[in-house]
């Protein structure tokens, strides 16, 4: 602080420095807030007051589209809010086991499916099961008996049964994010399935499946696919591509499936899936 007090003639720097700093800030502030911000792309020139607000980031021109809105279509009722997480986390697997007794006829003992059209549920993320059940309940997803079953289940039932299946082993592996690096997991890979799964197809807006479905990647609301039924995976991809299934949030899977050819879909399904009736060794169908 000694320096600050010394405004003697042998140290002109405090005056120079404070003066220069003040000048720079005043000029920059006046230009940035009072002048430049008045001009906007495709809009009228703003008053100085509005320009200052815009400069600060307080904008007034917020509002929905001015043209007539198309009728609202929502893919699902579920949103990944804290409340949803809490409800799923509150699921009681013991109670879920009782509810799940109704499921095993199709989805197999402990949720390990033996039939190609029914997905394996054992080890599936509880959030995924919960969301799909709610979509069946609300009609955002429809498939045969599942719509009726969904409507018969309460929210609590859904959370419980989701918790039960999520804890069953021998089905789908948990995605932990851990994975040793391995060769052949880039766009150079010749095998189309391996390439799609690990590198995607950027030209057709297809990201790598593994980034969300594993191995190695995970995304909220996304099922792990290793060990799922081949037919089921392929069928769902076709349904997403053709718009028969539309319950994916923000068109996530519809966009991707539209970029896949039928051959791609089959290759990916075979890569991930376990053909029906093949016994699983050690619980994990890892490649």
């Amino acid at each position: 602080m000694r320096q600050l007090g010394s405004l003697r003639s042998d140290n002109p720097w405090p005056i120079i420095a404070w003066g220069a700093a003040a000048a720079v800030i005043v000029v920059a502030g006046a230009l940035g807030f009072g002048f430049l911000d008045r001009f906007q792309q495709g809009g009228p020139t703003l008053s100085v007051w509005n320009a200052i607000c815009r400069g600060l980031g307080i904008t007034a021109d917020i509002g929905p589209a001015s043209e007539p809105q198309p009728p609202l279509r929502t893919p699902t009722r579920i949103a990944w809010t804290g409340a949803t997480h809490d409800r799923i986390a509150a699921g009681n697997p013991k109670r879920g086991e009782l509810v799940a007794a109704n499921c095993t006829a199709c989805h197999g003992n402990q949720g390990i499916s033996q039939a190609g059209i029914y997905p394996t549920l054992a080890g599936m993320d509880a959030a995924v099961i919960y969301k799909q059940l709610d979509d069946f309940r609300s009609g955002h997803r429809s498939w045969g008996a599942m719509s009726a079953i969904g409507q018969a289940l309460s929210l609590e039932d859904s959370a419980d049964v989701a918790a039960y299946f999520a804890r069953q082993s021998g089905g789908l592996p948990a995605t932990t994010g851990d994975r040793m690096p391995a060769s052949g997991r880039s766009l150079r890979e010749a095998d189309p399935a391996q390439r799609l799964v690990f590198a995607g197809d950027p030209r057709h807006s297809v990201p790598p499946c593994s980034a969300c479905h594993g191995p190695g990647g995970y995304k909220l609301g996304t099922p792990a696919l290793q060990g799922q039924q081949v037919n089921y995976i392929e069928e769902q991809l076709v349904a997403f591509a053709q718009g028969l299934r539309q319950n994916d949030i923000s068109e996530q899977m519809r966009i991707i499936a539209r970029g896949l050819t039928p051959d791609d879909m089959h290759a990916v399904a075979v890569f991930y899936g376990v053909p029906t009736g093949v016994p699983r060794a050690g619980g994990l169908a890892l490649r």
Partner: protein, 547 residues
């Protein structure tokens, strides 16, 4: 030099260079990965982990350890007395080293592929954040020691000018303290609470804005050792004297003042900051160019003195008369060329709306590789060649090899970055693991990318050569070396105005400028409702926690 201080400097330098070499290997592999050429272990996930590690190593580890080592060497040689607080210095060293190991191991395990810039709401394993916090926080011990040593010397030598090199390295430490405040606050109050599950939501805008407090000034923290060499080592290596001591002091002061309230120019493309503050900081950024422009002239003038004394005639004849066999003189010339090219890229980036042309393209990668990886790092090499005989008492093995190393680094860096500038203008995004070169849009970039890969491997050869020279010199015969010498100005000042001999005034100005430039942009997050759920890259979300 006292033996303990010698070891202190040597250990810091060795951590820096030991981390540097593998980081270059990663860089070369990454270039291969994103090129059309075949790559070993081509795994896109590994690429993102590698980018995280390369960035963390180069941006935090190499630079921090190098600056700390240089600081301790400078204290002893410029103040002419041993480092005070040696125990604290070793504690700082260990803390930083533990942080480094923690961060590196976590990234290698694949649990922290969030890049060294963190990118909330992506969330890494808490161990990565702890590691980064210990590394950066540990270096604050060094900051305190630098300030303490300088003020203790000033107290003991009233009225004397602080040696320019000590003034400069203390300026570096003070700048680092200011710069690190952003990332430390982000780690402590945004990332670590979220990673530990203490908070449920994260404000990505707040995290990014805090990081920009660090993001520009950290670059000048990396840069300042190079400028220290420009002002205090180069003139004597060339055989002349420093043109102006005052210019040097003003340069380092300007870096402190103007490299801090300008960080928002890194997020010109972000929606959380109003246009007014973007322009304000763009305007201030123009002033951070000034010290570099002043240095270019001052450095040329110092070299001109040397060249003319050595018999150079005519307007530019002094250039040829310089002792080019000296690694330091060669390095400074190569550094200036890269500084010019990289600086040009920087002028484009900082020019308000023009940033949109190249924001987040490979142009930006090219820019900071030229500045830091080129202009700055080549001076780190030259400083190491200068320091090694002094701190090991073993002469440098071969100056010819050192010259080769510097030339290879220079050529490699240009071959790497010139194509990146071109592809950046073509619209190639950065931080991308793989490109589909069969896409007609990407295809024309292929040849450029292949050229840059060649440069990457030239850099790798140069890095290996550097380590070879340092190791073989250190294993050589012990021989008493000349002491490290700092350039005397043509007019050495007898006294220096108080403001050019300390930092109180400048810290006050920085504080005021930071409040004006960052007060509202950070304060707005108190009332903006913009917190979002985090996306943990390492484990599943809450739904299967109970598994």
């Amino acid at each position: 030099m006292k033996n303990s201080d010698r070891l202190l400097a040597l250990y810091h330098f060795w951590v820096a260079f030991a981390v540097f070499l593998p980081a270059v290997v990663l860089g070369a592999w990454q270039m291969l990965m994103r090129s059309p050429l075949p790559a070993p272990l081509d795994d896109t996930n590994a690429y993102y982990a590698s980018v995280t590690l390369h960035g963390t190593a180069m941006a935090y580890v190499v630079t921090t350890f190098f600056a700390m080592g240089l600081g301790y060497a400078v204290i002893e040689t410029s103040l002419g007395r041993p480092v005070r607080g040696g125990v604290a210095a070793w504690i700082g060293f260990v803390v930083c080293l533990v942080g480094t190991v923690m961060a590196v191991v976590t990234v290698l395990s694949g649990r922290a592929s969030v890049l060294y810039t963190f990118y909330p709401p992506l969330l890494a394993s808490p161990w990565y954040y702890f590691g980064a916090f210990l590394l950066i926080g540990g270096s604050m011990i060094w900051v305190v020691l630098m300030i303490y040593n300088m003020s203790a010397w000033k107290r003991d030598n009233p009225g004397q000018p602080v040696p320019l090199v000590m003034f400069a390295i203390t300026a570096t430490a003070i700048l680092w303290a200011w710069a690190a405040s952003g990332v430390l606050i982000e780690l402590l109050f945004v990332l670590i609470p979220q990673a530990l599950g203490i908070t449920t939501e994260i404000d990505a805008g707040l995290g990014r804005t805090l990081f920009t407090v660090t993001l520009h000034a950290i670059v000048y923290f990396w840069l300042m050792p190079a400028y220290i060499a420009f002002y205090t080592l180069v003139p004597q290596a060339a055989g002349g004297r420093l043109y102006s001591d005052t210019f040097g002091r003003l340069t380092f002061i300007s870096f402190i003042v103007f490299s801090l309230p300008v960080g928002l120019h890194h997020i010109f493309g972000d929606p959380e900051i109003g246009a007014g503050f973007k322009f304000l900081q763009s305007f201030l950024t123009f002033f951070v160019v000034l010290p570099t422009l002043l240095t270019v002239f001052s450095l040329c003038a110092s070299l001109e003195i040397a060249g003319r004394v050595r018999g150079g005639r005519g307007l530019l004849g002094w250039i040829w008369a310089l002792p080019w066999q000296e690694p330091m003189v060669l390095a400074v010339a190569l550094s200036l060329v890269m500084l010019g090219l990289g600086g040009f890229g920087g002028l484009i980036n900082m020019s308000y709306a023009m940033n949109n042309m190249i924001h987040n393209t490979s142009w930006v990668t090219a820019h900071f590789h030229l500045i830091w990886g080129g202009a700055v790092l080549i001076m780190y090499f030259a400083i190491a060649y200068e320091m090694w005989p002094r701190i090991t008492n073993k002469p440098l093995r071969s100056k010819a090899l050192a010259r080769w190393q510097l030339w290879l680094w220079f050529v490699g860096m240009l071959v790497v970055t010139i194509p990146w500038h071109v592809t950046g203008l073509m619209g190639m995004p950065r931080r991308v693991a793989a490109f589909d070169y069969s896409d007609p849009f990407v295809a024309p970039m292929g040849p450029w990318v292949i050229i840059s890969v060649i440069g990457g491997f030239i850099l790798l050869v140069s890095a290996i050569l550097l380590i070879t020279i340092l190791v073989s010199s250190q294993l050589g015969e012990r021989k008493l070396s000349e002491p490290l010498r700092y350039a005397l100005a043509v007019n050495p000042p007898r006294t220096v105005p108080a403001s050019l001999n300390g930092f109180a005034l400048w810290n006050c100005i920085v504080l005021v400028l930071m409040v004006l430039a960052y007060g509202y942009p950070l304060g707005q997050f108190l009332f903006l409702k913009s917190s979002v759920p985090a996306y943990d890259v390492t484990r599943q979300a809450v739904s299967t926690e109970g598994k």
